[in-house]
Symmetry: C2
Subunit: 232 residues, 2 copies
DNA sequence: TCAAGGAATTGATTTGAATCACTTCAAGGA
DNA sequence: TCCTTGAAGTGATTCAAATCAATTCCTTGA
């Protein structure tokens, strides 16, 4: 059943691109079996090696998917924003999760059980196609990461991350608030907090960006940052 | 129409996991519109920035998908073996390809045009689900790469690559032939040919592997290699 | 309000791997 | 068959970035 967090107007299913276009009655049916749950920052949703038979959807907040090395180093593989789904690998393959899912702030998740999800897929012939489109996009991003990680230097990867956050989160003034700590930013681009600190300082002294506090960033020279990051 | 390379017994569609389970009549219909073409080593199938509205399937041979930096460095993002499909991104999104597709040996490709592919999808409700499963696996591999690339050292990534090739291509003797040059192996794991050369030499002098010629590799201590690579 | 613990910064140092330079080897084309 | 060209191997050197070491700065929770 649907908990109080999942009122009609704000159901996950209404806001998630991949469910758009479903028949009304099927949306209603799916809503009935959709649960939701709040997770605090740092409270793992699942870990590498866990199993689950659930599709998760981010309703509010922000989640990091991470891998951890034996020495305890953490790599953020992807950030999940409201509207993004996850958990599909374990659900479809009946395999263990290969990443950790951890909120970086208080986050609300919707949960759909495997049988309900598959039932809905059978009734909605185009739903698996829309998931296919979504996975297509996601694979694109993962492939980009693979390339970037070994073809670009830290400075370029950082510039790229700033441009991407800028595009995704900028306010009317053009400034944006980093949604994650600089430590996490470092992990996302595959470097250390120290290196991020130094490179951001360099960008500031080159007047490419301006920083206010530790999360507010204003990009002053977008074109130059794109130049550095080899984004065209 | 189907060319001479695509005889009944050896049609791509027969051997490709993702098309398995289709209705016979639909397979036949799709075969009629499937073309095939031979590519020589080094002859690009498509390049970053090209467009195409074609699904490609590897029938014989081996293809590398690569990204190139402005300075001309090449990163192999994925290898495609017989039975693997590619070109889906551009087809589904009407966008440019974001990678180069280049055979590393003489290769036979089957080609299915977008309209034929989408028609078949409409007639076979579970086909998009099977593509979804395939993309799910592929995303897993890409995510693994992202993690490996920044969490593991060159030695570990090389050990991992050797174990994977071993699992995929080993003969009854346990030896296998590297399907790619060491230069490409270097690109695949995100390092330089010099580093690969040195690390392989180190593995040899540790008696973890034995090499015959330049492509024949015999793994002597699989467990130790897995240990090094942090594969469990 | 204060204390505690993580985040961030900054400087000094180390290091893994890239780069450079050259030689040798091998495969494919004329 | 030879010859060209790229692949591969090896040593010397450089360099980007990680690591190590201290502070300082914030948050957050008691």
């Amino acid at each position: 059943m649907c908990c109080e967090l999942c009122s009609h107007e704000s159901s996950c299913l209404m806001t998630v691109p991949v469910f758009k276009g479903m028949k009304d009655q099927d949306i209603q049916a799916l809503r009935k079996v959709t649960k939701s749950r709040k997770f605090k920052k740092g409270e793992y949703i699942f870990r590498e090696g866990d199993r689950s038979e659930t599709l998760f959807v981010v309703k509010e907040g922000l989640i990091k998917l991470t891998k951890t090395s034996l020495e305890g180093k953490e790599q953020i593989v992807r950030l999940l924003f409201p509207g993004d789904f996850f958990g599909l690998y374990s659900l479809l393959r009946d395999e263990k999760h290969y990443m950790n899912a951890e909120p970086v702030q208080e986050t609300v998740i919707c949960l759909i059980e495997k049988r309900d999800f598959l039932n809905t897929m059978e009734k909605n012939s185009d739903l698996s196609f829309r998931f296919l489109l979504a996975m297509n996009d996601r694979l694109y991003e993962a492939d980009e990461s693979v390339g970037n990680m070994s073809l670009l230097e830290v400075e370029q990867r950082l510039a790229r991350a700033l441009v991407l956050f800028h595009d995704k989160m900028k306010t009317k003034t053009g400034a944006f608030t980093l949604p994650i700590t600089k430590k996490d930013l470092a992990s996302l681009i595959g470097t250390t907090p120290e290196s991020v600190s130094r490179k951001l300082l360099a960008f500031m002294s080159q007047k490419l960006i301006h920083m206010e506090g530790q999360r507010q960033i204003q990009i002053l020279e977008l074109d130059q940052l794109k130049e550095i990051s080899e984004l065209h």
